[in-house]
Structure formats: C-alpha cells, structure tokens
Subunit: 241 residues, 2 copies
C-alpha cells in the first residue's frame, strides 16, 4: 500500500483541553474503543513495536493506528503494510497532540463524529469499530506529556541506547505513563552502561504504579507480555462500555 490517508490536524483555540479530553474518553468508552497514547523519544522504536503488537493481537482484536508526525508518511506506510487500518496525522509543526487534534484523528479512524456516535448511525456502524486504536504521538519526551489526548491509557517506550537516567530528566512523561516498555534490550551488550535494575528504580520513583516490560521489537522478546497487558486493558475497557 503506497498511499496512506494524511490528515492535517489543527490545534484547539480553546483552553479547556482537559475537559475535552474527558469528553473524548467518555465517547470512546461508550463506543467500546480503547485508545492507547504511545509516546517516546524520536527513534526509540514506536513503529516497529506497533508492527509487532499488531502481529500479536490482530487475530483477536480489530486494531487501527494513527501515526502523528510533523512531516512524512513513513510510519503510516509501515503500519499499513501489516494490514491494519492506518492514517497519518500531520501536526503542522506542533510538538504534541492535544485532545482536539486527537479527536480529529479518531473521527477519521472511526468514520463517525462525536455527534453521530450519540445516535443510531454510530450504533449501526459499531460492529466494525476498532477494539484497539493506537495513537503514535510525536517523538518527544517533553510536550506530549503535558496534554491529555483523551486516551484510555498512556504508554511510553524508553530504549536502551537512550540511557537509564531518562526518568531523572523527563519526570512528567514517566509519571503519567501506565506502562513503560524498555525497548532494544537486544542491544544491552553494546550499551553496557544501561542497567535494567537502575532503569526500573528510576521509573518507579516517578510512578510507583507503572507496569514495566523489557522488550526487543527487533527479536520479539517481551512482546507476549506487552500483548497480555494490552489485552487485559482492552477487555476491562470494553466491559465498562
């Protein structure tokens, strides 16, 4: 698939992002769609991890992906090759997505607006709505942490080459994530100053409730545990719809 849908989203002119995020979350809950906001530094392996995630779960869940970037359609093309529904979101230079920007992506992905979702139109369509929608946020450990996107849960990837001290430097990002994947563990022999124990300690200092899962998106190690976590989250979400 060479052509992907590209959506140029605009930032909200309103100040009430938190309220709007709560509205989006309520709508997604009513529609039975679990939205994961996946964040990380540039190049930590978000897209490769998503490819593995789709492979692990596509036989049991309908999965759709929004790839947010400032420019390019590289990632949406990669995801589309897995057969999953994928759209590319361009942020117009913005360093993050807020709930309004996310909603524009959700509308495109679900084929319904919030208004339609409250009517029979949406009910008729709900058979084909995704169980799991994933927002791959802009690669950035600072700004995306400051804006509630309206997602059901936040996850992030810390990759081994970045170093185990990142929770010390980017406290907010680590404090808001329900799950932290430690990716590229296959490269631990090369990056021998990275300590998994120290990384865990630093992450838990920021968020004692974080689930921490070491993975290698390259070799597939740890992906089963991550898929289990997602499966449990999606089931719990849908049971409350």
């Amino acid at each position: 698939m060479d052509s992907v849908r590209v959506l140029e989203v605009k930032e909200s002119v309103f100040a009430d992002n938190d309220a709007h995020a709560d509205e989006l979350r309520a709508r997604l809950r009513a529609q039975g769609v679990f939205l994961l906001n996946l964040m990380s530094s540039p190049g930590s392996g978000k897209t490769t991890t998503l490819t593995r995630t789709i492979e692990a779960l596509r036989d049991e869940l309908r999965i759709a992906v929004m790839e947010a970037d400032i420019d390019s359609v590289v990632d949406a093309k990669t995801i589309a090759q897995t057969g999953a529904q994928a759209i590319q979101i361009h942020t117009g230079g913005m360093c993050h997505l807020d709930a309004y920007m996310t909603e524009q992506g959700v509308d495109a992905l679900l084929g319904t607006t919030a208004d339609e979702a409250a009517t029979d139109v949406a009910a008729n369509k709900s058979q084909s709505l995704p169980d799991l929608a994933i927002l791959e946020n802009v690669g950035n450990l600072v700004c995306p942490a400051e804006f509630d996107t309206g997602a059901s849960a936040n996850a992030m990837i810390l990759s081994v080459p970045e170093g185990d001290d990142k929770p010390l430097k980017y406290p907010l990002m680590f404090s808001i994530c329900d799950c932290v994947l430690i990716n590229k563990i296959d490269a631990l022999p090369v990056f021998d100053t990275f300590s998994l124990d120290r990384a865990r300690e630093n992450i838990l200092m920021r968020n004692p409730n974080a689930t921490i899962i070491p993975i290698s998106a390259k070799t597939g190690e740890g992906i089963d545990q991550w898929a289990d976590w997602l499966r449990t989250q999606v089931a719990a979400w849908k049971s409350q719809a």
Copy 2:
C-alpha cells in the same frame, strides 16, 4: 565535584525573541565568546560527546558548558568532572530555551551582564572569559529548533539507534543546524538498518550546507574531525570580535 550551580531560568514574556537573540549574538561576538547550541533527541549522547570535546580542546581553548534540563543535575556533574566550568540550567518544565533563557545562563557563565559587557568591567574580566561556551539544549528534536537562542552556531547529534529517517520527520531541526554529528557509529553492526549514506542524503535534503561528521563518543572515533570544525569556527568568530 558533587555540587554544581543550578540556575532556574524563566521564559521571556516578550515576543521579540529573534531580536533579542541577535543582541545576545552581537554581545558574544564583541566579547569574543563563541556560543554553540547543541541539540538532539534525549539519549543521543550529547553529554558524552561534550566530555570528549572538552578532552580534545581544553589545552587550547577555555571551555564552559551550560547543561539545560527540565530536572536533575546529572549532566552538569558529568561535565564538571572534566574540570571545565559547568552550570546546570533548569527550564521549569519548558521544552526548549529561548534567547532570554540562554542569556541568563550566559550571564552566570561569564560573570557579566550585557550592560557590564559594554563597560570597562567586562574588558578587565575578558582575559578569563571562555573562548567556547556550549549550551546543551533540552533533549527534543522539535521545540528547540523553533527558538533562536542567540548562539553563534547550531549543531545537533543524530545517533545511529534513532534511525536514518529522522530528517524526514523533524525537518526544521535538521534545516537549522550548521553541523550534524552522527553518533554511536560503533553500534552500526547492531543497528544494521541504519545506512550512513541514506542518513547523509536525508540530512542534506534538509540542509545542503550542513557539515556531517560520523563519530563515536564511546570510542573517540571522529572526535578529531569535530574538534577541527569547532576550532575553525571559534577562530573565525574571534577574528571578527
């Protein structure tokens, strides 16, 4: 050295960042201080590269470093261990530094304000001013690119594990950098999807004039070439003072 000076800087309330950046640049030129703004993703190896840079140049240049982070004093401590003057700048959660924030760091580093620099006070002190001041910006490929810090030149680090497609996704950052270091080339055998040729091509697409230097801050490979580039820049800057 266990304690480092920490400066909590505040963002400007003024809109004329570009004008202020030009003023700061003019002051630094008059004082013969070359200011390098070093940017990258989190964990690309800025601090390790700086440590190597200081080792390579400290016998010929007075070097001082401003380490900007949202939190922690990890990096300033590392730099202080080299014997170079180092201060830690905390951005109060901000994802970038503007010229006003940078100037607060410069004042602290040089021990003079802009007003003093225009008087004999500064002239008397100028013997001990740094030849090369380095601002290690917040780890972020988006926002720092949007704010002129007042630096004499911009450089950035792209590390091999991040992937060679980053110039496609973060166009502005690559377009404003005079020099791009490609770090962690010692890890190329592990990250075999990274192509140095493709990285060069993507960088030059964004900035045809960029100097591109592959390095390994870990092994020291390429640091001589980087030190040469800096040496030339500093000499040219001081000749125009």
